[in-house]
């Protein structure tokens, strides 16, 4: 059963009662990211979908305050009408997770969901300025504010972002928005293997041209983008955004340098928008299967080495975002969690999150990267301070 409080007061009441009764609850929004985390014991759901609507939006200040259950689509439409956007490009997980329903903004921040622009413009957590949430005692807590420089005291905003509903029930979020770039263009370098692509992407990021997207799409996935419309061979794609006059100049400069790596072609505004949305939403693995999908974050130069090492021992397909530092992997059969995590440690560290898998696989796999003992103990103490009765999905995050 799902409880849908219509006010912050109701939400606090529900959670306070659950805490008093020692009853576990699972916090959710639109449940389009329902498969995230370790399989937790069945619990009553508390949904934020009854807390919906834009509370305050001042386009001139580039700040928006909304209730946590507000659909992302409604927010994006309102921002678009003012030529603004969420700079962190929140991914829509419905395709890859095979879920239905409406993603909510609370879910975006609870899972710290970001897209291709994250590696230069920051994650969801960097845009989140203030929150209201109900802690595990059923108290309404406010943290942060509505100004850019918002940290006074301890930054509980960052802590709640990405806590997957295990520390508190978000009721309201205030975040920074940015102007939509006047134009967008993509430089495509064709035919690079993964290692050469990593070099090309690093070279591009060292230029003063403000690349805002940097992905590498190997042969196996290249056909899935733009309906197969990318030029032949592997595609290394670099995005430029901004004022039209400026993008034109920067594109020339970038293309000139990238020619040393391979044949260069260019995509205009419309194709660029589609391509980067498909990269954002992990389109190649939005395949209607339950083959395990990993989201791996490592140093950009380590991404391709990780995949090369894994290929020798496991059935894996992969493509790269964030200059190679975000690796999307689909495993043919076994998730190979131990192997994957061993190689990540060997290559300088990072983390692997199991995004999608069958229930049987999920039951046996740690969804989030296991942490060193001291950090795990610290995290457990932090959770205890926000959720003393341990009612918010215990075990979901480790």
């Amino acid at each position: 059963m799902t409880l849908i409080p219509n006010s912050e007061v109701d939400a606090a009441y529900i959670i306070r009662n659950a805490a008093n009764d020692g009853k576990k609850v699972a916090l959710c929004g639109g449940s389009t990211r329902a498969g995230f985390g370790n399989t937790a014991e069945p619990a009553e759901m508390v949904s934020s979908t009854g807390l919906s609507g834009i509370v305050d939006y001042e386009p001139a200040e580039m700040v928006m305050t909304v209730r946590a259950g507000t659909p992302v689509a409604e927010i994006e439409a309102t921002l678009a009408a003012n030529r603004q956007m969420m700079a962190f490009e929140p991914m829509d997980h419905r395709g890859v997770m095979g879920t239905l329903g409406e993603p909510t903004i609370g879910g975006v921040f609870a899972a710290n969901v970001s897209g291709p622009r994250r590696f230069v413009s920051g994650a969801a957590r960097d845009s989140l300025l203030g929150i209201r949430f109900i802690n595990g005692r059923g108290e309404a807590i406010r943290a942060g504010g509505r100004v850019m420089k918002n940290v006074t005291g301890l930054d509980l905003v960052k802590l709640l972002a990405g806590s997957h509903g295990t520390l508190g029930f978000l009721t309201e979020v205030t975040f920074r928005v940015l102007p939509v770039p006047q134009t967008v263009e993509t430089i495509v370098i064709s035919g690079l293997d993964d290692a050469a692509a990593a070099k090309a992407m690093a070279a591009a990021m060292a230029l003063p041209v403000e690349v805002s997207g940097s992905a590498h799409l190997p042969q196996t996935v290249r056909f899935r983008f733009l309906g197969g419309g990318l030029p032949a061979g592997e595609a290394t794609v670099l995005r430029l955004e901004g004022l039209a006059a400026s993008v034109a100049v920067r594109a020339e400069k970038l293309a000139a340098v990238m020619q040393a790596f391979g044949p260069v072609s260019r995509l205009g505004q419309e194709e660029s928008q589609t391509l980067w949305r498909q990269v954002r939403d992990v389109y190649p693995y939005s395949d209607g299967t339950l083959k395990p999908v990993w989201r791996v974050s490592v140093a950009p130069s380590a991404g391709h080495q990780l995949v090369a090492a894994l290929r020798l021992e496991a059935g894996v397909d992969a493509f790269y975002d964030w200059q190679g530092g975000l690796v999307w992997m689909r495993m043919e059969a076994d998730p190979e969690a131990d192997l994957l995590r061993r190689y990540i440690r060997a290559l300088g560290g990072g983390h692997a999150t199991l995004l999608r898998a069958s229930d049987a696989v999920r039951a046996q796999t740690q969804a989030f990267e296991p942490q060193p003992d001291a950090v795990a103990a610290l995290s457990a103490r932090v959770k205890q301070k926000l959720d003393p009765a341990g009612i918010f999905s215990p075990g979901k995050m480790g």
Binding site: M62, K149, L243, V382
Partner: protein, 479 residues
């Protein structure tokens, strides 16, 4: 010396063991890493919030993370307060010690350990100065973005403690947005690493929590920071306005137009006069408010952005427009602004306030600030980062007159409350320290503060890390 702000009562059990503690610390650290003679302790008794000072028991200046861990473990075992210190440039008293405390200074840990251009990161020890990083990578076309005014002296460890900003944060964000990882010593001496060269946390965002925690959660000894490719060029334009309302509205309009300048700096008439007298930057003296707007990029990009920005200023009745035609002119425009604190210090004592307000409230808050200052019979100069609403009123007073100093402090408190009431924050980039500690209840409810303090307990149960800071001394929960 002012005395409005109180410190925790020194722990008797610690004070009475002073000699034994110093003997023990001598065992843990090489001789050159420990300071305990009274006269040698004096430089550590305060920071840039000079109206308050307390002589610490000892100062540890470790050279390695292992030494930091040893000192931390020892102090935790005996309940000895520890006050972390970078360069001591805190304007809010974040590094001011107390009589029963060991100061843990990171100044000897000042090496850049690795620069990795392929991954655009620098791994540095906590005592490296902010400017050192940009200087080390500048020749290869990179920089580290946050640029506090004290960047020549302040350390990256201190920047992390205070989540420091600077003029260029409008485009690139503050420390928390440019920090990828830390090595940190917990209160019991355990060494942990959070983050690294990869993005985002595996579990809870403890890195985000640590950044801006003012030395209350542990001692950061190393950091991985993000490097950014230097823009091709940067060019400022200077605008003079007849009223601060016009200047404020112009700021809001530039931001709202879709152009993101790299900096928008604001100066009011007193600030203009002070800076011009000192720097001879050619600032107009017949205006009430001045904006410096800087854009970055290629020539074409800068031309396009500046054209749009000058048009916007025109709609707000701009009186003076000075576009820089050369690097020399650009430097001159910035020279006045950058000398603001030094120039002000030459004519009077001042306290530099730091609060943040929504952009739409800039001119309202400026006017109210003048009213408050008039009521207290003081003078104020405003020079601040307008693009993100980060106000820095400099309240001028005479430090030799205790009554004047008390009035300045009181006026400052009223201005900070005004920032909160206008929908903003008590802090921008200087932290809470002791300066704003007792105002925290104005911004947060009891439940909000209790939740923050509970999280603090998860890191430091005995409250020995920088214990007199950030949270009001009364009403702290006991566990």
């Amino acid at each position: 010396m002012a005395d409005t702000i109180s410190f925790l009562k020194p722990r008797e059990a610690v004070l009475s063991r002073r000699a034994a503690i110093i003997a023990d610390l001598t065992e843990l650290l090489p001789p050159e890493c420990l300071v305990h003679e009274a006269r040698e302790l004096v430089p550590f008794e305060t920071d840039a919030f000079v109206s308050y000072r307390r002589l610490p028991m000892a100062v540890a200046l470790p050279k390695t993370t292992a030494q930091v861990a040893a000192v931390m473990k020892y102090c935790n075992r005996y309940g000895i307060p520890v006050v972390p210190r970078g360069a001591g440039t805190s304007l809010s008293g974040g590094a001011i010690p107390q009589e029963d405390a060991v100061v843990l200074g990171l100044s000897k840990m000042s090496r850049i350990l690795e620069v990795d251009y392929a991954n655009r990161t620098a791994t540095v020890q906590a005592g490296v100065t902010n400017l050192n990083i940009s200087e080390a990578v500048g020749i290869d076309g990179f920089f580290y973005a946050p640029d506090p005014s004290s960047q020549l002296a302040c350390t990256i460890g201190g920047n992390i403690g205070m989540n420091s900003g600077g003029a260029h944060c409008l485009k690139y964000g503050v420390t928390t947005n440019n920090l990828l990882g830390v090595k940190m010593v917990l209160v019991d001496g355990t060494v942990i690493e959070l983050g690294g060269k990869h993005l985002d946390a595996a579990g809870y965002d403890l890195l985000g929590l640590v950044c801006g925690s003012e030395g209350q959660l542990g001692i950061v000894t190393e950091a991985v920071v993000r490097l950014i490719a230097k823009p091709e060029g940067a060019r400022p334009v200077l605008f003079g306005f007849d009223t601060s309302e016009h200047a404020g509205a112009c700021v809001a309009d530039i931001i709202g137009s879709g152009i993101i300048p790299v900096a928008i700096e604001f100066m009011d008439k007193p600030a203009i006069e002070i800076c011009e007298a000192f720097a001879h930057a050619g600032y107009p003296l017949d205006v009430e408010a001045l904006l410096i707007v800087e854009v970055e990029g290629s020539e074409a990009e800068m031309d396009a952005m500046l054209k749009a920005i000058v048009e916007i200023a025109g709609r707000h009745g701009v009186k003076t427009v000075r576009e820089s035609q050369s690097a020399t002119e650009a430097a001159l425009i910035w020279k006045g602004r950058k000398s603001a604190f030094g120039a002000t210090g030459r004519i009077a004592d001042y306290i530099c306030m730091d609060g943040t307000v929504p952009l739409g409230k800039l001119s309202y808050v400026l006017n109210k600030t003048s009213e408050i200052i008039d009521r207290f019979g003081l003078r104020v100069a405003n020079v601040f980062h307008a693009g993100d609403g980060n106000m820095h009123p400099l309240i001028l007073f005479n430090a030799n007159d205790p009554e004047d100093a008390a009035r300045a402090e009181e006026a400052g408190n009223e201005i900070l409350k005004l920032c909160v009431d206008a929908g903003g924050c008590l802090t921008g980039e200087h932290g809470v320290g002791i300066e704003k500690r007792d105002l925290m209840r104005h911004q947060y409810s009891e439940a909000d503060l209790n939740q923050q303090m509970a999280v603090r307990y998860a890191f430091d149960e005995d409250w020995i890390l920088n214990p007199s800071k950030v949270f009001p001394l009364d009403g702290r929960p006991t566990a």
